[in-house]
Amino acid sequence: MVDDSGTDEEIPLPNVKTAILSKVIDYCKYHKDSPPEEIQKPLKSTNLVECGVSEWDNEYVNIEQEVLFELILAANYLDIKSLLDAWWDSGVEDGKRIHVVLVWEGNKDLTCAKVASMIKGKNTEEIRKQFNIVNDFTPEEEAQVREENRDLGGLCVALRSISSRTEQLEVKVTTKSKAPVLDTVGMQGTGPCG
């Protein structure tokens, strides 16, 4: 991308590994003439191809989680503005300028959509495991958060299982502390699920 612009101006690229940078450049090269497809949000499938992503793009982000994060970071570290300015100063025609922005945004959208697709379809515990996130809620808090965020996907069965789980929690909690923290849990047990 930098080469294509024909400018000799140096652009600072701190903290970006060569391998990652060359991957970003791959993406820009591939989309040099055809801007990336728009990704449908919210994602309706964990398979990005079903969300409007091309096969090539899907393959592009089919990488180790660690590399994926570095890729997102690289796009963020690169001083996008100076990169664009360099392009613009080098006399890119008007139509092309919009294209450059589209490609750049596309790269960010695609990599972030990949992360989102790794969240989708998993339950809370599986998400924590996927990203190695430590659960820092107290049991009371977790029961409250889960109650608020009860699954509305139309899965009444899952709903019931969650509320029975919170009931178990309630027992555990009240034995620990005497405060009736969960007095409102279950209040909306008959709420709609759809």
Partner: protein, 466 residues
Amino acid sequence: MRDVVSKGERNLYGVKPEGHRFALDGKEDWDLVLDKGKGWGAQSLGKLANDELWLLILSMLDVKSLARMSCVSRVVFVFCSADHLWKDLALKRWRENGFLRRFDFLGSWRQTVLKFKKQLYRPKAIVLSDTLFRPWQYGTAEVDARWLRREEVETLDASKCTVDDFVQRFEIPNKPVLIHTALAQALAGIQELGGHPHRADDMYHFRVGPVNMRLCDFLDYAERQTEESPLYLFDCKFVERAWSTGNDFRVPELFRNTKENGERDLLAYMGHDRRPDYRWLIAGAARSGSKWHIDPNGTHAWNGVVSGCKRWLMFPPGHPPPGVTPSADGAEVTQPVSLMEWFVNFYHIEAAPVEFTARSGDLVFVPSRWWHCVLNLEACVAVTQNYIARSNLASALRFMRDTPENVSGLADHRSRAALYRDFREALRLHHPDLLDAFDDNEAKLAKDRELREEMHNDTTFSFEFF
């Protein structure tokens, strides 16, 4: 038990601006601050260390996934509670359904989507983030008393003013005016709707963003929301929707086409279906409103406040207000995200030449090409109509002829491009004298221009010659 958290803080979940770190006092305070990187997973998502990237990822999740994600950790919960995420999901759902029989806003979009009335969990913690704080800041900012002090506008009493008087003194010189007590009769039907929301019949559903809803449901939402850019009821088909059987909606006397008045609205010749959108029912929450703009297609407008009160600011043609930059071709305007953000940051920079508060029953005349913005000081219902009279006919025709790409209010590209031709046709049929006068004048102007250019060329030539 009553919710002790104030309406303003309810949707904030311990978010503070980054600068708050300097106000933290001692270890106890610091212990409350959550480490964002750790909360997102120190070895994975946490490495992104960027609020906007995290929100971008969350914005791609559906309701179920976002709800599950909310339970992952305290920091992730606070990010997942950013209400615009839930608002987008709700609007997406509405777009698919297109119609809302009942809209029950439960205080935040998150609560509305997840259908729970009482917030159970509040993190006893602080998350420092400007990105999360900013929308809340402008969504709950109070209207500053200093913005309401000036009253710079000419006023008229509708009962003591003739149409001719109004046209001579204000329409022809293209000057704004605030007209008192002009609406009493004209909008009685709407007053009824605005004043007694609970009596509003189920059959009246109005356009709000991508969906139709009852006016009373909308006003209820308007009272309860704390958004930076709340939904706005903006319906150009309100007469057809609510007055299809009766005839309650009457244009105020000063602007009505009658035998005595003559043709006040020349666009009416195009026919109701072919003219660009021209009248709207508007309703909005306190602190919402219309950002800076110029009315479309070179039209004048009148705006009647049915209920509530509105703060008006105006700048004359060719003089955009501070903080507002129109593009060279006039097609786009760059300005702050919300009206409140403009007021907070730009109000004090330059005094607006015209500035006033319009109250229920008042009518505002907005002359063509004037910059204006309107801030609702309380929940407001208003009716507005755009028109072309003799006084702005020439400038409106020039606008349509010279910048057809900026024409708006017509559904398809072809009729936008053809507005100049179509409007001329209608005039030719009903009022050929007006059209001839315009054409004669344009021909004369063109001739003058030619002459001037010739003279200019002559001087250039002689200069080079010597």
